[in-house]
């Protein structure tokens, strides 16, 4: 009788062990996935890698993602691509009705196609309906990456 019970006891122990093991894996898998840092550009919208050196030619602009909104990075005409001073970065959200602006190489200005708003490379409104200048971002170069941040200089 005791002999009958012992294998049964062991069977139950194995089943229990297997169950707890499975539970352990089911717990460990999400935890490990969580701990491994994701590839995305980090929480908080305060700083973003907008481009690499060499990606832009002088007198060229690029739209990049800054948090949830678009930003625009311009390598100024005659600007030094390896120095932060050669670039200008702003929010690409037009201050008139929130269309996305673009860089005009012919005008050397930032321009909004919706209602013909013009901004100079200081973000100031030159003409058109935008009521306020484009918010300027800080540019910093680290390695060969161009970082744009919304922190005050």
């Amino acid at each position: 009788m005791a002999d009958d019970k012992i294998p049964r006891r062991q069977a139950l122990n194995y089943l229990l062990g297997a169950g707890i093991g499975a539970l352990g894996i089911a717990t460990l898998y999400p935890v490990v996935s969580y701990i491994i840092p994701p590839k995305a550009t980090g929480a908080g919208t305060s700083s973003v890698s907008a481009a690499r050196i060499g990606e832009l030619k002088p007198n060229q602009g690029k739209i990049f993602k800054f948090g949830n909104t678009p930003g625009i990075l311009v390598l100024k005409p005659g600007g030094d691509p390896s120095s932060a001073l050669g670039y200008a970065a702003f929010t690409a959200v037009c201050t008139h009705l929130n269309c996305t602006v673009q860089y005009r190489q012919d005008l050397k200005e930032i321009w909004c196609a919706c209602h013909n708003g013009h901004f100079d490379l200081n973000g100031k409104v030159i003409s058109g309906p935008p009521p306020t200048p484009l918010k300027e971002y800080r540019v910093a170069i680290k390695g060969d990456e161009i970082f744009v941040s919304s922190e005050e200089a």
Binding site: P30, V31, Y34, I35, P38, A40, A43, G44, S46, G67
Partner: protein
């Protein structure tokens, strides 16, 4: 010698495992029709551990400043693999934890388990209640969403009612006269360092007392045994009681995971200090009964009253002489039932009643 035995001996020679194992082997837990309530305390401990683990995981990505807190929680919810799960578990387990603490406290109260010699267990337990509510209050602000900001504003406002030092307490809590980013950082410090430190110490004491004194048996059961109407029953802690504990913990985990997956915890909108407050601002549910009460009585009276009530509640074992002598005390049972009903009813009113 088998490796397992060699390992055991190595530790035994240094920390006297034999003693510990003997204690565990012989530890028993009373078994009667009310012993189901014994599991609630262990469940609270389990949930506390769940909070510590998920809290540490959240700490890996959370940023405790007004500029980044909300975004970091959003990041956890949307970009970090299983971040939504970790955060939702943390939120659900927190509420379950506090809910079960109340259940634990009232079941202990109604069974008069606070009577001699377990007064210190009760007092340390009362302290743990306040610490848990502190955890809840400080943690609630951390996502820095509009709801939490308003609730914290309302909640901390009551501090001024404390006679004499009220304004000082308010500014100490808020890190200034108003709720700002400074409050957030301060609450973060409370939530992850100060409160855990104090709780570890108090919890340690609480568990020590429980281990030293064992489980209390309700007086009615003791009477039945004394009168020979029923035998004294006890079950071994290892493995019978422990397996039951683990069963409960497993089911609790399942419930929390179910809730977290079906209804991930909301993020809401980012706190906007300049936005005017909507009419229905409420603190978290476990404060609602107090908040609602304070709408019906003058604030100073209410705050003072709660202070007194809290102090009395903590010192209860010293007032209930009859239980200390081993006599039934239906007055205290009635007080306990009234307290439960009062909290439940006022919490309900707080949610159902139209706004101010």
């Amino acid at each position: 010698m088998a490796f397992r035995d060699r390992l055991y001996n190595w530790w035994n020679e240094r920390v006297d495992l034999d003693n510990l194992l003997a204690f565990l082997k012989h530890k028993t837990v009373p078994h009667h029709r009310f012993s189901i309530w014994y599991y609630v305390g262990g469940m609270c401990l389990y949930l506390f551990i769940v909070q510590v683990i998920t809290g540490i995981l959240l700490l890996l990505y959370y940023k405790p400043t007004a500029e980044a807190a909300y975004e970091s929680v959003q990041y956890i919810m949307t970009e970090v693999p299983f971040g939504w799960l970790v955060r939702s578990i943390h939120s659900y387990a927190a509420n379950l934890f506090i809910g079960l603490i109340f259940v634990h406290m009232f079941s202990v109260f109604l069974m008069k388990a606070y009577r001699k010699p377990r007064e210190l267990t009760w007092i340390s337990g009362a302290l743990l209640l306040f610490l848990a509510m502190g955890f809840g209050f400080s943690g609630y602000l951390l996502p820095w969403n509009q709801l939490a900001y308003l609730a914290t504003n309302v909640g901390t406002n009551f501090a001024v009612m404390i006679p004499g030092i009220g304004q000082w307490v308010l500014e100490f809590l808020r890190g200034g006269p108003e709720v700002t980013g400074a409050t957030l950082t301060r609450f973060f410090g409370f939530h992850v360092a100060v409160l855990p430190g104090i709780t570890t110490a108090v919890l340690g004491l609480h568990l020590l007392f429980v281990q030293r004194l064992g489980m209390s048996v309700p007086l009615s059961i003791e009477k039945e045994i004394a009168e020979g109407k029923a035998p004294r029953r006890e079950i071994p802690f290892v493995p019978n009681f422990l397996y039951r504990d683990i069963l409960g913990w497993t089911l609790a985990l399942g419930l929390i995971v179910l809730l977290s997956s079906m209804f991930p915890w909301e993020l809401g909108e980012k706190a906007d200090i300049l936005k005017p407050a909507p009419p229905h601002v409420r603190p978290e549910w476990f404060f609602v009964f107090m908040y609602q009460t304070l709408k019906y009585v003058p604030k100073a009276v209410g705050v003072f009253g709660f202070g007194i009530a809290g102090a009395v509640w903590v010192l209860l074992p010293f007032f209930d002489r009859k239980s200390n002598r081993g006599e039934p005390n239906s007055l205290y049972t009635i007080i306990g039932v009234i307290a439960v009903l009062y909290m439940a009813v006022f919490t309900l009113i707080g949610y159902v009643a139209p706004g101010e």
